[in-house]
Amino acid sequence: MSIEKKRIGVFVCHCGINIGGTVNVPEVVNQLKKSTDVIAVLDHQYCCSDPGQNLIKETIKKEKLDGVVVACCSPTLHENTFRKAVASVGVNPYNCEIANIREQCSWVTEDKQKATEKAIRIIKTIIKKVQYDEPLQPLQVPVTRKALVIGAGVAGIQAALDIANAGYQVYLLEKNPSIGGHMSQLSETFPTLDCSQCILTPKMVEVKQHPNITLLTYSEIDSVAGYIGNFKVKIRKKTRYVLPIKCNGCGDCANVCPVLVGNEFDGNLSQRHAIYRPFPQAIPNIFTIEKKGISPCRNACPAGVNAHGYIALISAGKYQEAIDLERQANPFPSVCGRVCNHPCEGDCNRKNVDRPIAIASLKRFIADYELKNGRKLPPPVEKVKLDKIAIIGGGPAGLTCAYFLAKKGFQVSIFESLSELGGMLITGIPEFRLPRPAIKADIEYILALGIDVNLNKTLGVDFTIDDLFTNGYKAVFIGTGAHKSLRLNIPGEELPGVYPVLQFLKEVNLKIKDLQPLISGKRVVTIGGGNAALDAARTALRLGCKESVILYRRSRREMPANEWEIEEAEKEGVKIEYLTAPVSIIGDNSRVVGIECQRMELGLPDATGRRTPIPIPNSEFVINADIVIPAVSQAPDTTLFPELEKTRWGSLLVNPDNLMTSREGVFAGGDVVSGPATVIEAIAAGKKAAESIEMYLKGDNQQITRPTNREIAKFSEKEYAKFIKQDRVAMPKIPTSERVSFKEVELGYSEADARKEAARCLNCSVCCECLECVKVCQPNAIDHNLTDEFEELEVGAIVLATGYELLNKEKLGSYGFGKLKNVVDGLQFERILSASGPFMGEVRRPSDGKVPKRVVFVQCAGSRDPENAMAYCSKICCMYTAKQAILYKHRVHDGEAIIFYIDVRTGGKGFEEFYKRATDEGILYIRGKVSKIFEKGDKVIVWGADTISGKKVEVEADLVVLATAMVPAASKEFAQLLKITQDEYGWFTEAHPKLRPVETLAGGFFLAGACQGPKDIPEAVAQSSGAASKVIALFSSETLEHTPIIAGVNEDLCSGCAVCIDVCPYQARELQVLEDGKKKTVKVIEVLCEGCGACSSACPVGAAQQKNFQDKQIQDMVKSALEK
């Protein structure tokens, strides 16, 4: 590459003694004059001065220069000055370069000799660069004259109004449901004691009414692309589950919402509902539902019962609504409230605090309550559908399937082989756990929907599946259960006195035979570890046996029966022999006399995760027994349907997606499919089958679409630690002495018990989706199925007004970790003072609502404390503490206010006078820090120092207010998303701390308010107007200049490998096909290129070249720099 040699002039600046004091400028000039690369070398005391610039201009004219090097300070300072100067005399500004011999040379050494040598080297290097510099023209870029303001506190509101009033469009984005920010939480403002809301709300209304402002509340930034003048911002509009155009803000929804959670607007000193509006003057005046995924209880239920929903409704005293909600998923509240194995309780988050909510017992309460208070049965459902459906088996699976189909208007018939409905509920579960009326109550309700019942009809005996289809049934559901007791397969099982468990329970439960004479006074041994074994053993006790023993081959940990049932059995006197297996049943001619047993030990876990029992050799022993009840397992009797396919365990084979068997139109579910399982699983299967049958009859044989997986709500360890422990309400039971009859053991909760227990719910997902709000919303504005929406905005400038938060009290260990109820922070005390606050403007303390007679204010709580928290001064606390103390004295005339301070800083208009007023009103100021705050009885003790008297001070206070440090609200992630720099604390960094306080180093981003550092309201507002004026200035012309120092592509060299496209951080490169239609090369989208040079270094063939930083240039510069 050979180009014509430039006529280059060098101008060396002394910068007073900044350069001249260290660098020998005359020597530099002499040395450079020897170079053949330059035409003229001159020096000046201050090149940036007018005479200095004139010298440069004159020399250019005289020597006909076309390249200039100015050796002076950093290019960030005067590059622009000199480029404009040379341009005024016809030299292309991009052929004028700065050689920095101040910041990089004279300022960093005291060695004059070396400094002079280095200066010469730097200048020579830059001369090489100028030699190859191309004359360039700035690119013209259009400006989108719309602004985005992020954060709608007072700062954001002011910036938005100023820009909008200048005639430009503004988007005002706020992450919370309402605009207003922290200022809307304040009671009064210092030093004038204006009511904060009274001066803010007019501005809020103005924002809402302004034609140029588009409000984007409850929204967040998803991504930001582009550059100054041309940003593309993707906004996530979080769904409120309320349609803004329909909601009229009447608040009927909040009145019926049963969920109460901490109200963050009141600093969690009061409660709000899951559907809420932060404060009455909120803008927009729309309600919002808070949801955090799905509650774990609801997620755990196989039948999808909304446990959170009915618990919340119980806590609000809405028992009818609660049971109606329950029945939407489960028609067996009375049964499940008693015998469900409640997986919901196993997953309940409250277990991380103390113990899970007694969910099943609460369910039982609403079922019992409804019965006691005159339940109204539902009217029969109109048969709107013509299809007939047959249900074989009247147990929980069959009845549930019938219930859901009948609700849809199908004609349903149940065929049951026994003379009663209920299946295993009536045959297998003893009355002391599940009384017959409890079962009857649920069945009565189900049948009320209008279901045809055919008792004493056995499949295979009285009818066949073919008969059903011939008789016009369009679909069949089989729910015949698992009623066959499995054998032990040991010798002696045929002896009289051996009773298979289901036979035993059925005979007792259905009162088929009076077994009392048989059992009374006998020794009964039950073999097995499931619920059936325990039921049998406890039943035997009630029949008057002498002794009831259970043999189980593993240990208690492996026992499949419910833990609480085992406990009750032991209490009643059942003996359990663990690690014991029967070898044979010993008979004395005609009947059982004992069991030969073997001791076991536990080996490795098997497929179910339980450890396998292994016999211990020579451990055989005999125990006496008169009656033996094998209760090892049960199986379905599938001989009933020979034509249907079975699994290898003998149960029915179904398609797991829709529960259809191998025969078209025949569905199955419950124990007959799963083998012996729980009631709730049978109910779940019945419900799923009903949905499948409906789909099938519609001719839609597709898989049923299940609701998508929602995130399961949970809390952090810290949040769990904050909940107050409160043990679950104990279930009242009859004393063990009374457990000789079949009277129900558990008595059920009273109304007060239930309300208390339900109130323990943590409301994990906040909204419980009971849908009470939907029922009362007259404009039909609520839709729980709404999802977040995205919107892409095109804006030319972005104003950041993300504001501050207060330092979390948990970080202040010596001030009680935020655990002491009567230690509040400044914003909480503002709410206590506020007329719309938790105490309606009366000063009361959170723990007991008493009026505090002595309040201690602690300033610098976390500020000016580099060891423990923040090193900086939070600036506003001195004044707001004085204000709060004054307001406290105004409200509580005999109250005493004490302020601990380090210094009182009153720099501001009217501030010192206000402080004087505080001291005049009798507020006691103690100069010193507080070392420890702790509770003693109902008082809060404050230990501090009085550094004026030099004494330790102990104050017994009713309430303590911590003036906690201000910290930035914007997170690190947010700053990274926008590529804005933050200081070590997270405040946004301004472009220059003195001269450019509202700009950032990233073009097009401006700062307003406390996101840049602690400041009070007037300062925040002033800065916002400053930021707005910068935006308006930017929008004042239609185009912007964009630097031409960007990357280019040498199309002859480019092979189209596209490596540079991947490395480009600005998406400024794309592949193009050249005109010949074959070769591919890379093209630069010039306006997007920021000239970072990543492509140049990545390009393997040197095709990507940065303008005025070409490889040749850089090689020459490096050579020159290293020249000896």
């Binding site: 260990g813 420890k932 702790f934 003693k936």
Partner: protein, 289 residues
């Protein structure tokens, strides 16, 4: 069996035999060995922050060097020894202390590389053995015993140098006693000064300090106190003589109750070495006969 170098210190050989013996016995049960240094000298007793006070620092550093013959992990029990040994090591290798280090090492017989890690026995129990493993060795659960875990100052401060637990709300001992089945009562003075340092010249101040702590413990519902520091133990036990209010609170070393729960023989617990007789409480709880 994992071995650790063990530095008992003077007090554990005299006044506080029970702190020492119970720890060694418990360690045996838990499957770790506390191997006492072959020779050891005074820990330094009080950490001197005077930078040119070289002589005062030689004692702890010699012990740290000696430990390396056994292990790079040196275990202590006495809170004062732990404080001095750990801080001496910290200061020696703190950035900017190179000259100080060179000068100090000149006084040693052999070069010391700063690699000895000073650990408290509680850290071994929590981090190396694990409280779940400790729980599995419990013979007598402390179920129903309400314990106040009192840490004092030396274990915790200055927190940047000691870095043992949260100086405002330490939990390491509380978690141990929860694992042993006890109820660890929470009170605000876990790390408040016991006054032990002024016991000799201002006994009335020491009594007052101890009284404030004991009052808060009693109000929180505790039945006894556990500590790791011989100075605290002596002070808050013995000063009960001079208090107007009779608290009658037994003050244990944590190793005594740990040992009791792991099944160490009662006579080794040395329960007679207390001003407030702890036997009544332990009998009442069925922990001793």
């Amino acid at each position: 069996m994992k071995s650790f170098a063990y530095y008992p210190g003077c007090t554990l050989y005299t006044k506080s035999r029970n702190l020492d013996i119970c720890a060694r016995e418990s360690a045996k049960i838990l499957g770790v060995e506390l191997k006492e240094l072959e020779t050891w000298n005074c820990c330094g007793a009080i950490f001197s922050t005077v930078q040119d006070d070289i002589a005062n620092q030689i004692a702890p550093i010699r012990n740290l060097k000696e430990a390396q013959k056994i292990s790079n992990e040196l275990v202590t029990l006495c809170a004062a020894c732990y404080n001095v040994l750990k801080r001496s090591n910290y200061y020696l290798y703190k950035e900017g202390n190179e000259i100080y280090r060179r000068r100090l090492i000149n006084y040693l017989d052999e070069e010391y590389d700063g690699e000895t890690k000073v650990l408290h026995f509680l850290e071994i129990l929590k981090n190396q053995i694990g409280y779940n493993a400790v729980k599995s060795h419990v013979k007598k659960s402390l179920n129903g015993l309400k314990v106040a875990c009192y840490y004092g100052c030396l274990m915790l401060r200055p927190s940047a140098e000691i870095n043992f637990d949260d100086p405002d709300n330490p939990m390491i001992m509380d978690e141990l006693f929860l694992a042993l089945g006890a109820d660890a009562v929470q009170f605000p003075f876990k790390s408040e000064c016991c006054g032990g340092y002024v016991l000799v010249n201002r006994p009335e101040v020491a009594t007052k300090c101890a009284e404030i702590i004991l009052e808060s413990i009693i109000n929180a519902g505790a039945e006894c106190v556990v500590t790791t520091c011989p100075l605290c133990q002596y002070n808050i036990d013995n000063q009960q003589k001079y208090m107007a209010k009779q608290f009658n609170l037994p003050i244990f070393y944590f190793t005594q109750l740990l040992g009791l729960s792991l099944g160490v023989e009662e006579k080794l617990l040395n329960l007679d070495n207390h001003y407030i007789n702890p036997k009544l409480l332990l009998k009442q709880k069925g922990l001793i006969i």
